[in-house]
């Protein structure tokens, strides 16, 4: 019991020091910062109450073995009732008072979160569409021909608010970048909005936070916060069509990918692969991961994924095509060029 007493304190020490790419405490955005401050306030207040409860309990333990050891209840009524009653009202008052304080703090934090884009800056506009089990990312601009489509990776400029519209193509998912903000669900038939205001440059990880079926565990999203200049470079690069394959192997892969099963579902801008029901592959090699955070984006990951998608992520909608070794080498070689 005494051990428990100290727990709330290490809790904050531990968690505060707990940096991570998917951590609530390691806040890198306006929203997550506000929330973490509120969390700390709640943590302190609740810890005080916990300490009080445990102290009272210990006091009760220490008081036992007072007079009357016969184990029978008091005959003459309860003598300390009055002081207890005073304590009771004090306690209830303290509880109500601090809950009101917390409620207010929560309310104002919530207002703070709700006042999206207080400085009225131009925002990055993103449509995020969740699918079982990957993220379809579309940046939109006034000139629709400048729109960018990518998958499973979001780039955000630091210091610029991003307005993300959340939609789902199948079941309910939840968009959650702990380092930047709280969750928002993606619900079929509805459009939810969330505004992110990233402040610190870095790589963060988001993950689907609503159970969405077989591969709920493998539905991550890389979030890269970069300087506005880097972001613009990234935008420009994304608008380019896929580079033409240079080596004979890559050309063979190109031929396969753009005419066979792959092209039925995937899009590679500038080629005949125009599918829309699977992640856009135009710049797939420039991303960090494959298959919504399932495998790292490197040669080994590509081979593993293309050869046996059902092994790495059983139940996902990419079929096992059954490439022979030559085709596998070629396809992987081509995809590697899609930077």
């Amino acid at each position: 019991m005494r051990r428990r007493l100290l727990l709330p304190i290490p809790l904050f020490v531990l968690v505060s020091g707990c940096a991570g790419i998917q951590s609530v405490s390691d806040d890198a955005g306006r929203e997550s910062g506000l929330i973490w401050s509120l969390f700390v306030l709640f943590g302190i207040v609740t810890a005080i109450f916990y300490v009080a409860v445990i102290a009272f309990l210990i006091a009760a333990y220490w008081r036992r073995g007072g007079s009357n050891q016969d184990g029978l209840p008091d005959e003459g009524g309860v003598t300390r009732e009055r002081s207890l009653r005073t304590a009771f009202f004090l306690w209830t008052g303290a509880v109500i008072g601090s809950l009101s304080l917390l409620a207010l703090a929560s309310y104002f934090t919530d207002r703070g979160l709700a006042s999206v884009n207080p400085e009225n800056k131009p925002m990055v506009g993103i449509d995020l569409v969740a699918n079982q089990w990957w993220w379809d990312v579309r940046y939109h601009y006034d000139d629709p021909s400048q729109n960018i489509r990518t998958a499973n990776e979001i780039h955000l400029p630091a210091g610029v608010p991003a307005m993300i519209s959340l939609k789902s193509n199948d079941v309910i998912h939840s968009f959650w970048v702990p380092n930047l903000a709280g969750k928002q669900d993606l619900i079929p038939g509805r459009i939810n909005d969330i505004v992110l205001m990233p402040r610190r440059i870095g790589h963060y990880r988001a993950q689907c936070a609503e159970y969405c079926g077989l591969q709920h565990a493998h539905m991550a999203l890389d979030v890269i916060v970069e300087s506005p200049a880097d972001f613009q470079r990234w935008e420009a690069a994304q608008r380019q069509p896929a580079p033409a394959p240079a080596t004979p192997l890559a050309q063979a892969g190109y031929a396969y990918v753009t005419s066979r099963e792959c092209s039925t579902c995937h899009n590679i801008a500038g080629t005949n692969a125009n599918g829309t029901v699977a992640p856009d592959l135009t710049h797939v090699a420039g991303r960090r991961t494959i298959a919504a955070g399932t495998l790292p984006m490197n040669r080994a990951g590509l081979y593993a994924w293309i050869a046996d998608p059902q092994g790495a992520k059983p139940g996902n909608n990419m079929p096992t095509v059954g490439l022979n070794a030559d085709e596998l080498h070629a396809v992987a070689a081509y995809l590697e060029t899609l930077k």
């Binding site: 021909s145 789902s168 509805r190």
Partner: protein, 609 residues
């Protein structure tokens, strides 16, 4: 082919073929009471023939023949009925040149020449079989129809479903040239009737439901070589937009709008076909035609105005250079192809005579547009519309109703007009005697649900489910007599079924049209009173014509054969258990299989001798 008549001498035909349309001085055409008259240069004096589906370049579908008139039409009798053997939708008109009648069949697009002067009864003269590739049937969105051949200068020009343009020698039925212009592997088919003028054959593609890139091209009528080809999406040079392009509205001005009004690369599979009607003004040397829907149907996949789809182009016929463009439905939400007819009229607009084109668009508005400038003088609803609240004449833009915009994951209910529009391809007729436009059209609404469409070349690119049903009032069709000058309907006839056949107006002040359950009707052009009707073997979606026969009598002819998008439930036959079948049209005409059957007969009517 059953009951094949014997082939007869071609003397009569050759005599008739000598008759060539000659432009007449304008003074010979009298304006109607309201001051509207067909564009003089685009019409010809009545010669008793029917050489192109629209009758003339002004697309009036008006014949001056007046032997059959309001008084005697009730005595109309069948003089010829002949089974063509086809059981698909019959949207083509018979052509009559001299004493020969030419029938254009749906897939496999046979051309049948019938000698009307043959004794004892008309007989088949020749049959031309182009044998298009059967695979083309799989990429024809709305039945395997064809909207007719055109006769000019001794030749018949027509298109085949698999994307060929063919010129036949009208006398012998031998191919003079055939040019492959469409690629069915991408979903390009051709169902339209070409326009032949100035030695050019103007042809556009179908396939807006397959993510093709729409175009219109001109072939040399003599050789079949491509003279020019204008795309309807993409960079200006592909669209043949140059310095002489002067659209009236600011929204249509700018560089490469066919690229910038689309998400990257979407214009390459963006539709904007031209499968409808082309009018021609010989005075301005300009053709006018509309472009089809952008692809896919699901609008969320193509943010932007989606130029140059769902609008009307004016082009120079010689070079194909665009003169102006007006987009009646920017960022089309409902498959409102803008391919309907443009009737070229000269008429008073706010007191001043203007050279205009009148176009009842799919979106339910009847536009009056200046032929030279592209300015919209008026846009009035001629059918039920709840998906738009009007047209802003200052900017030219349609004002959509946001609550009716399709949304992924949520069905939008009760959209009017439907994907097939307040009126689809079936053109109206203009009578210079009454000054009215007779519009056969629909009165339907729909529920629509959209979802992300996947693009696989050669397969449909839609992303939408629809269910159509009767609009307000419960009737599914109207024949509206529209007064373009007073900008309102003179009268309307309620039709239970949607009207899918064009109208025909005659000098006898009779208007003919057909219904999908097979009633061929004649009404009083002044009042709309039903004067005569006949029940045919199959529903009517074909184009009625009238002509003066070799014997000097006036005949009315058409080919029955229900089908097309609206009648696919019968010609398919499709399963009424799936209301979304035929892109939702099946739901609107569930009762059709009980009321008619597939067919394809030529009917010719005349007054008793």
């Amino acid at each position: 082919m059953r009951s094949r008549p014997s082939v007869r001498s071609r003397a009569t035909f050759l005599a008739a073929a000598a008759c060539i349309l000659l432009p007449l001085p304008a003074s010979q055409i009298h304006a109607a009471a309201n001051g509207a008259r067909p564009a003089p240069a685009a019409t010809a004096p009545e010669d008793g023939q029917w050489t192109m589906p629209s009758k003339d370049y002004a697309s009036t579908r008006y014949s001056g023949l007046d032997q059959i008139n309001r008084q005697n039409v009730a005595r109309l009798k069948l003089t010829l009925s002949w089974d063509t053997g086809s059981r698909k939708g019959q949207e083509a008109p018979p052509l009559v040149v001299g004493s020969t009648m030419y029938l254009t069949m749906p897939f496999p697009n046979n051309i049948i020449a019938i000698d009307l002067a043959a004794k004892p009864r008309p007989a088949v003269k020749w049959v031309f079989r182009p044998n298009p590739r059967p695979m083309s049937q799989g990429v024809a969105c709305c039945d395997v129809v064809n909207r007719g051949a055109v006769y000019a200068n001794g030749r018949l020009f027509f298109n085949t479903l698999d994307g060929q343009v063919i010129a036949l020698d009208a006398a012998s039925g031998k191919a003079v040239w055939r040019t492959q212009v469409g690629n069915i592997m991408k979903g390009e088919t051709i169902t339209m009737s070409p326009l032949v003028a100035e030695g050019k054959v103007i042809v556009g593609d179908s396939g807006g439901e397959f993510g093709v890139r729409g175009w219109l091209m001109a072939l040399d009528a003599a050789s079949g070589k491509v003279a020019w080809k204008a795309f309807h999406t993409g960079p200006d040079k592909d669209v043949l937009i140059g310095p002489d392009f002067h659209p009236y509205y600011a929204a249509d001005r700018g560089k490469d709008l066919g690229v910038h009004s689309w998400p990257a690369d979407a214009w390459k599979i963006g539709g904007g076909t031209a499968w409808g009607w082309v009018s021609y003004d010989p005075q301005l040397k300009m053709i006018f035609y509309g472009t089809g829907n952008p692809g896919p149907w699901n609008p969320e996949q193509r943010p932007g105005d989606n130029k140059w789809t769902t609008g009307v182009f004016a082009r120079d016929i010689a070079t194909g250079r665009a003169r102006w463009f007006y987009q009646s439905t920017p960022h089309d939400l409902y498959d409102h192809d803008d391919i309907n007819e443009q009737i070229l009229l000269d008429m008073p607009v706010r007191g001043q005579m203007r050279q205009v084109l009148v176009r009842p668009a799919r979106n339910g508005y009847l536009y009056v547009i200046d032929r030279k400038s592209g300015q919209v003088y008026s846009a009035d609803p001629y059918g039920y519309i709840n998906s738009a609240s009007g047209v802003d004449l200052r900017t030219g833009r349609l004002i959509p109703v946001p609550s009716k915009a399709p949304q992924e994951g949520r069905v939008v209910r009760n959209i009017g007009p439907t994907a097939s529009g307040a009126k689809d391809w079936n053109p109206g007729a203009f009578s210079p005697r009454t000054g009215l436009i007779y519009l056969p059209h629909e009165n339907l609404c729909m529920d629509e649900g959209v979802m992300e469409a996947n693009y696989i070349s050669g397969t449909p690119y839609l992303g939408a489910d629809a269910k159509m049903y009767a609009g307000p009032g419960g009737n599914r069709g109207f024949l509206t007599a529209w007064d373009p000058v007073r900008r309102k309907a003179a009268w309307k006839i309620r039709e239970d079924l949607p009207l899918w056949s064009p109208a025909l107006a005659t000098g006898g002040d009779v208007v003919f049209y057909g219904t999908m359950d097979g009633w061929f009707k004649a009404i009083d052009a002044l009042t709309g009173k039903l004067l005569w009707r006949a029940k045919l073997d199959s529903g009517i979606i074909g184009q009625p014509i009238t002509y003066r026969g070799p014997d000097g009598r006036q005949y009315v002819a058409l080919v029955s054969g229900v089908g097309g998008w609206a009648g696919a439930i019968v010609s398919g036959p499709l399963d009424p258990g799936d209301p979304s079948a035929a892109l939702g049209f099946v739901n609107a005409v569930r009762d059709l299989p009980k009321r008619t059957q597939a067919g394809g007969r030529l009917y010719v009517f005349a007054l008793p001798r």
